[in-house]
């Protein structure tokens, strides 16, 4: 697979379609699986990792879902290409930075991705645009069943699916939604919301970060426990809380428009102005400003940009994407210049300046 051609598209999670896609960017389900005849990855020898990779790849290729996937040998990729896959959420940062034989298989729509030799031998991931946890779960269930017919997954009657870390044991499932919550951030209600989520055993993370500060008001909500409940119950546990968060965010947006219209309009317009005129700009600032503009578009304050446009800029202004699109490797300083240039050209080409 040519990664360069992928750079021209945005992939599933930023398509900007699907239910509630003004707030819910994407829905994702992943399953952790291991084979019993090899040590877990962190204790596997170099030869074990090579054998696990080949064993899984060969067996998965024999089932319908597997035959439609393209394999990428992550171990042999350049750093920039690994980073590129991380930015697209096709592999985890841990997978990118790990050592030894490892690979990822993805489908053409970038909905299904199979990571081999991440923390577990196999991590199956399904991602759908917008709020569609049910759909993602139904899809991954089929993938898991098909692979399970040819690959013996390590399983224990009491503990369930056995994983390298006890935090994933049982179902091995992680259900998550990526939300864009700018109004809750502006109205300073976000911490309160997260505290209440922690109380019901849900974890909150920022985009592109493990527990780090959320970039650009994008947050990932996921289940924290994997044992003692069924997969459906865990899908519901996350699914049930999303409408509540959507409602909070909508109300906060209405409040902003009602009470501080001028102020919000000013903030959004300034963000838009910087994106269209800056000469050098970091990835972090870009994310933050795109987040504001995205909200502005949804509030009807900016008329000449589409949500899918903003979504695609979110990923294309990331370091590896930017370099792929430009076709050369750039250091941080040059990336900031190139990013600003890319944004200016994008807005000049697609949109006439707003008044």
């Amino acid at each position: 697979m040519k990664l360069d051609t992928l750079a021209e598209t945005v992939g599933e999670w930023l398509r900007g379609t699907g239910p509630e896609s003004d707030i819910v960017m994407s829905s994702r389900v992943r399953l952790a699986r291991n084979v019993p005849q090899y040590p877990f990855v962190s204790r596997a020898s170099e030869q074990d990792r090579v054998d696990v990779e080949r064993f899984l790849r060969e067996r998965i290729a024999t089932v319908p879902v597997g035959s439609r996937l393209e394999y990428i040998d992550v171990g042999r990729l350049e750093e920039i290409d690994r980073q590129f896959l991380v930015e697209r959420q096709l592999i985890s940062r841990e997978h990118a930075e790990a050592q030894g034989a490892r690979s990822v298989a993805i489908d053409g729509l970038e909905q299904v991705s199979l990571m081999i030799n991440e923390e577990d031998h196999l991590r199956i991931q399904c991602m759908h645009s917008g709020l569609d946890l049910r759909g993602a779960w139904e899809q991954i269930r089929v993938v898991d069943e098909q692979i399970g017919r040819v690959v013996p997954f390590a399983f224990h009657p009491r503990w369930g699916y056995l994983t390298a870390c006890p935090t994933n044991v049982g179902t091995g499932i992680r259900v998550s939604v990526m939300l864009h919550l700018p109004a809750l951030v502006i109205t300073r209600q976000i911490d309160k919301v997260f505290r209440s989520l922690h109380k019901i055993s849900l974890a909150v993370r920022g985009l592109y970060g493990e527990g780090s500060q959320a970039m650009g008001d994008f947050y990932q909500i996921s289940n924290q426990t994997t044992l003692g409940k069924t997969e459906e119950e865990l899908v519901e546990q996350v699914g049930d809380v999303v409408p509540v968060l959507i409602d909070y965010e909508r109300r906060a947006r209405e409040f902003l428009v009602r009470e501080t219209q001028q102020n919000v309009h000013d903030q959004v317009s300034r963000a838009y102005g910087i994106l269209r005129t800056a000469q050098t700009i970091t990835a972090e600032e870009t994310m933050q400003l795109l987040s504001r503009v995205r909200m502005g578009v949804l509030l009807g304050l900016i008329g000449d940009v589409s949500i899918s446009d903003i979504n695609s800029l979110l990923v294309r202004t990331q370091p590896a994407h930017l370099q792929k699109l430009r076709g050369v490797e750039l250091d941080t300083k040059d990336r900031n210049i190139e990013r600003a240039r890319y944004l200016r050209r994008h807005f000049e080409g697609g949109a006439s300046p707003a008044n």
Partner: protein
């Protein structure tokens, strides 16, 4: 070992496990008591947690130094990981660890998940003959991990007879549970070289 908060001897060794992060604390009796009371108090104030079904936040398993010293040396017969290594890394060595360290993992897993029994999906029996997707398949196949180690040891001390026996047992188990058409992707021969299956 000294207490991390004063000069007294550390007698409590606490392992915190929170969503994959591992933190070790070595404390004297006084500081350990203070620490544990504090986490209990924190857990106590959040009573809503219980109604939310499941437990979150840092939880700990505390053992005395003597208990820990014995426990730490316990090693999995398949992958060879000791409980000490697991406590340090937060990652288990192989699927058999869940059987071998079942008693030790019980409180830890209960703390993480607020449950101690899987109630989700179970693998179906494979469609093909000899396909292993069952618990007994897991148990049998994890033996291969130990046998592979044993075979390599045998090769290292030039005990080729034992190496051959180990290799034959590995092949028999893999054929039984992974299907007759193939062995593992690569099975080292008793002379230490690797062949394509």
């Amino acid at each position: 070992m000294k207490c991390q908060q004063c000069d007294k001897q550390a007698v409590f060794h606490i392992t915190e496990l929170e969503t994959g992060e591992v933190r070790e604390l070595h404390l004297c009796e006084d500081h350990a008591r203070a620490y544990l009371n504090q986490s209990e108090a924190a857990a106590g104030t959040a009573e809503e947690k219980a109604t939310g079904g499941g437990i979150s936040g840092p939880l700990s398993v505390a053992q005395t130094a003597d208990e820990l010293a014995v426990l730490d040396q316990k090693a999995c017969p398949m992958c060879g990981i000791t409980f000490f290594e697991f406590r340090n890394q937060g990652r288990l060595g192989c699927p058999h660890d869940y059987v071998h360290f079942e008693k030790e993992l019980e409180p830890l897993v209960a703390n993480i998940h607020g449950a101690s029994e899987h109630s989700g999906r179970r693998p179906e029996r494979g469609a093909g003959k000899g396909q292993a997707a069952l618990p007994e398949g897991t148990e049998e196949l994890t033996r291969v991990i130990g046998l592979r180690r044993s075979m390599q040891e045998a090769i290292a001390c030039e005990d080729y007879e034992r190496a051959r026996e180990d290799r034959d047992t590995i092949r028999a188990i893999e054929e039984r549970w992974l299907g007759p058409a193939r062995r593992g992707p690569t099975t080292p021969d008793a002379d230490g070289t690797t062949h394509e299956a």
